[in-house]
């Protein structure tokens, strides 16, 4: 590092104030010294010259007037002359001596009180030259010796020597130097004061701003802000500061371009944002103050908003998770999560979200990892508590940025109670259906029982009468009894499975199975009512993720309604078209089942309402109006939909569609 670089480096390190001070001082000093030197040189030389000229003038005057005395050799007159000249007013300070010598160099007269030292005779006037000057020593002082020729006509008759006191000249020059130094010092002092004030004026606000900025970046907004104008603010004076619903017109206005509403018109004349008239430092101060006010206002709003959402997060009745997209771990969780899931909070944090619901959470995470935008709703997902107890939740998931990482906010609602209630409702409805079915079922069971009874009576009669039973008859009877017992047992099994409360977990169901189960219980009853079933059940149906006995409930509801609809327009004895058509099949990755009747159809205006709870077209006491509402709920549970196609007078078709369950092995269980 060279010297200049070191200087520059050092210079950049020192404060702005010092820089200003030093720069100004250096400039002023340089200018002052230069001026002083030049003026001194000019003044000193011209002063010396002037004095010398005066000395020569005296010498020439003596030579002019003393020429005749010299010719006359009138020494006293010469002496009087040189004394007069030497002592004339101020000259006595300047003139150290005057002496006259003749052509031969003899001293004719002199003004000294002692003998003329020989050292004074060193300045000899060369011939032909009117005068000469030489610095010579006189005792302990220095003297300029000026020699001038005394001429008479063309001849030189003598020489006049005038000694000028060098000390006197030096004194004059010294006075001049002191005056200059004083002047320069005064200039420097004034400059220092001025530049110090100026630099202070400039750097004070800058260092104040620096100090304030430091404080603000440390988060301390409550420092008094006395800048430039010297006024502080009172937050209460700003309506937008305490009321976060109000926009800050000064700030927000510039974005929307709208004008402040009448009630906030006063804000247009803002108490905080202002520009003073003044130099750049004043404006910088104002601008900074406005900026700080803006930051303060919005930081306060941000904090309030943060607090609001934080308390929403903490006090919300539902568990909320923040899940990191990349790692799938829980980054934050509100207190309700530990209550619901039974894990302590510390354990929940950094736990993989998958652990809470291995079956269903993958889909949610994948959706966001693959860059899905917007919020997604996942109804009825199975989650597990600490300890493995399963329960159902509805999940809302939205993407957010959490601590600089892509994350998902997942709000979870525990719907166990709801599901439980639903299950109870469905169960109650099922029990009601069971009651409705009972007559048919009794008939169904009576049939095999009757056959068994007749067969066994035959056997016992033959036994009592001691008659031989032909072998083939015996075999026939025994086989028939066995078959009929199986048949009765099957009906009872179907009945029991229908009445059983469903598990929480769904299973793959072939839609034909519940159709057959329901028909096995009610078919004969319907046929006795002269209602015929026409079945078109497709083989190889894709399975549907559902509960078999709830689907039976649905199908029973539909066929029971179909029967009622048919009975509305015709009766069992009167004939008429009395058919129920059931059609199942695969369609576009979905499985459908259609139940169609030849009844009276549904009014257009009622078609929208039939799935509403407690809506019924039946007479009072004939139905609660819950059957189709429950049916609808069950179908929705399995992700299916139900549509009505009904023409008044021509019958009604209910078409249900369910998504086909993924084949076994595809799902991670």
């Amino acid at each position: 590092m060279s010297f200049s670089e070191r200087v520059i480096a050092r210079f950049t390190r020192i404060g702005l104030r010092e820089k200003l001070l030093f720069s100004m001082l250096a400039a002023v000093l340089f200018i002052s010294v230069a001026i002083a030197l030049i003026s001194r040189w000019i003044l000193v030389s011209s002063l010396t010259n002037e004095l010398e000229m005066r000395g020569f003038a005296i010498a020439h005057s003596v030579a002019e007037r003393g020429g005749s005395y010299l010719l006359d050799n009138d020494v006293p007159k010469l002496l009087a002359l040189i004394f007069d000249e030497a002592r004339l007013r101020q000259r006595k300070d300047l003139v150290a001596y005057i002496f006259i010598e003749d052509q031969k160099g003899n001293i004719l007269a002199h003004t000294l009180t002692h003998k003329l030292p020989d050292s004074l005779r060193a300045n000899t006037l060369p011939p032909g030259q009117p005068d000469s000057i030489k610095l010579i020593g006189l005792g302990n002082q220095e003297v300029y010796d000026l020699a001038a020729a005394i001429n008479e006509g063309l001849y030189r008759i003598g020489t006049v020597h005038v000694g000028l006191n060098k000390r006197h000249i030096d004194t004059l020059v010294g006075k001049l130097r002191v005056a200059f130094l004083g002047f320069i010092s005064a200039v420097v002092i004034i400059t220092i004061i001025l530049s110090s004030w100026l630099s202070k004026y400039i750097t004070k606000p800058v260092s104040d701003l620096t100090r304030l900025s430091d404080e603000i970046s440390r988060g301390n907004f409550d420092i008094p802000l006395k800048l430039g104008s010297g006024e502080d603010w009172d937050s209460a004076a700003c309506p937008a500061f305490s009321n976060t619903d109000l926009p800050c017109w000064h700030f927000d206005q510039s974005r929307s371009g709208q004008t402040p509403a009448e009630t906030h018109r006063k804000c247009a004349d803002c108490a905080f944002y202002r520009k003073h008239k003044g130099d750049e430092v004043v404006q910088l101060g104002d601008s900074f103050r406005n900026m700080v006010w803006s930051i303060k206002l919005y930081r306060r709003r941000l904090r309030e908003s943060e607090e609001k959402y934080r308390s929403l997060f903490d006090s919300g009745p539902d568990p909320i998770f923040v899940v990191d997209c990349a790692s799938g771990t829980i980054r934050d969780a509100n207190p309700r999560t530990s209550e619901l899931y039974g894990y302590p909070r510390e354990e929940l944090l950094n736990m993989p979200f998958l652990e809470l619901g291995p079956e269903h959470n993958t889909a949610c995470l994948d959706f966001f990892i693959e860059g899905g935008g917007g919020c997604v709703y996942y109804p009825k997902r199975l989650h597990y508590k600490n300890g493995g107890e399963p329960f159902f939740v509805n999940m809302h998931a939205c993407p957010i940025s959490y601590r600089g990482k892509q994350a998902i906010i997942i709000a979870v609602t525990d719907i166990t109670e709801l599901i439980e209630k639903d299950a109870q409702l469905i169960q109650a409805a099922k029990m009601k259906s069971l009651g409705e079915m009972s007559a048919g079922v009794a008939h169904e069971i009576n049939q095999p029982l009757n056959a068994i009874k007749v067969g066994s009576e035959f056997l016992s009669m033959m036994r009592e009468e001691d008659l031989d039973i032909p072998k083939e008859h015996f075999k026939e009877v025994v086989n028939e009894i066995s078959t009929q017992v199986d048949r009765a047992a099957e009906i009872i099994d179907t009945l029991r499975s229908f009445g059983r409360k469903s598990d929480l977990i769904e299973e793959p169901v072939d839609l034909n199975q519940p159709v057959r189960a329901v028909l096995s219980m009610v078919r004969r009853q319907f046929e006795l009512d002269n209602i015929r079933f026409e079945l078109n059940l497709a083989e190889g149906l894709s399975p549907v993720q559902a509960h078999s006995n709830r689907l039976q409930q649905v199908i029973f509801n539909l066929v029971a309604n179909a029967r009622d609809a048919i009975n509305d327009v015709s009766n069992a004895d009167g004939g008429g078209d009395r058919r129920i058509l059931i059609h199942t099949g695969n369609h576009d990755g979905r499985v459908f089942i259609e139940v169609k009747d030849t009844g009276g159809g549904i009014d257009e205006k009622d078609q929208q309402k039939i799935f509403e709870p407690f809506f019924t077209t039946k007479e009072a006491g004939q139905g609660m109006g819950l059957g189709l509402a429950i049916t609808y709920g069950i179908i929705k549970d399995y992700g299916g939909e139900i549509r009505i196609d009904s023409t008044k007078g021509r019958g009604t078709a209910f078409r249900m569609e369910f998504p086909a369950a993924p084949a076994r092995g595809e799902t991670k269980a």
């Binding site: 049939q447 007749v454 033959m462 006795l528």
Partner: protein
């Protein structure tokens, strides 16, 4: 020649068992799986006795009963009803069914019903007097045989009036074991008994098969008369 019996039931296994059982009883068994088929078979074979289930698809037992009675009103039709379905039984009796049996079928009941039917057929063939009035010391006794129908009602009413006129403390209507009462008979009897309710004479009914007893109980006839399984000896003395 073996008597022909037609069994109408929609249940093939039941039909099969019936065939074996009734054959063992010595009948020539005809079967039909529904009412329509049954009526056709009836028309073709003209059996004297028909056993029919009531609840059947296509044409039920009631319809078949109507059709058969239309073809031959003298036919003995025994309906088989679901256990305890008395309404259907009464409806069938109103349509001139002669008897009914409950399901599941009991051999005893079947045998009795078959026996009664056979006896009634014999009575009908012999055309004996079906209502006989006897005077005993303490009671008037009306003996009833065969089928009580609209046709026998005038005779029964006459006998009843004569019996009341005797001024005995009690009146016993004694049914033979094989006796059957159809709807019109039940209505007529109920009228007689309710009209009599005001007078001092107490009426007893005896000898009714358990089937008819339960029908009478269902219809509330027991309000006007006491039912006995056996004839009361005290009343029939002397």
């Amino acid at each position: 020649m073996r008597d022909k019996v037609l069994v109408i039931d929609d249940e093939r296994p039941t039909l099969k068992m019936f065939t074996l059982l009734l054959s063992a009883y010595g009948y020539d068994v005809l079967t039909a799986e529904n009412g329509l088929e049954g009526v056709e078979t009836f028309r073709r074979e003209e059996p004297g006795l028909v056993l029919t289930d009531i609840k059947m698809p296509v044409m039920d037992g009631i319809e078949a009963l109507k059709a058969i009675k239309k073809i031959n009103p003298a036919t003995e039709v025994i309906v088989i009803t679901g256990h305890g379905d008395m309404d259907l039984a009464i409806q069938a009796l109103n349509l001139d069914a002669t008897d009914f049996i409950n399901k599941p079928l009991k051999r005893e009941a079947l045998e009795k019903a078959l026996t009664r039917a056979r006896e009634r057929m014999t009575i009908a063939r012999n055309a004996e007097g079906q209502v006989v009035l006897e005077e005993k010391t303490r009671a008037a006794v009306i003996g009833v045989r065969g089928n009580v129908t609209a046709m026998t009602m005038p005779r029964l009413t006459e006998a009843f009036e004569q019996a009341v006129a005797m001024g005995k403390e009690a009146l016993l209507i004694e049914f033979e074991k094989s006796a059957s009462i159809n709807g019109a008979g039940i209505t007529g009897l109920t009228e007689l008994l309710s009209d009599n309710a005001g007078s001092g004479t107490r009426v007893y009914l005896a000898g009714l098969s358990s089937n008819f007893r339960s029908v009478f109980e269902t219809l509330g006839i027991t309000r006007f008369a006491e039912l006995f399984e056996q004839e009361k000896e005290t009343l029939t003395d002397g």
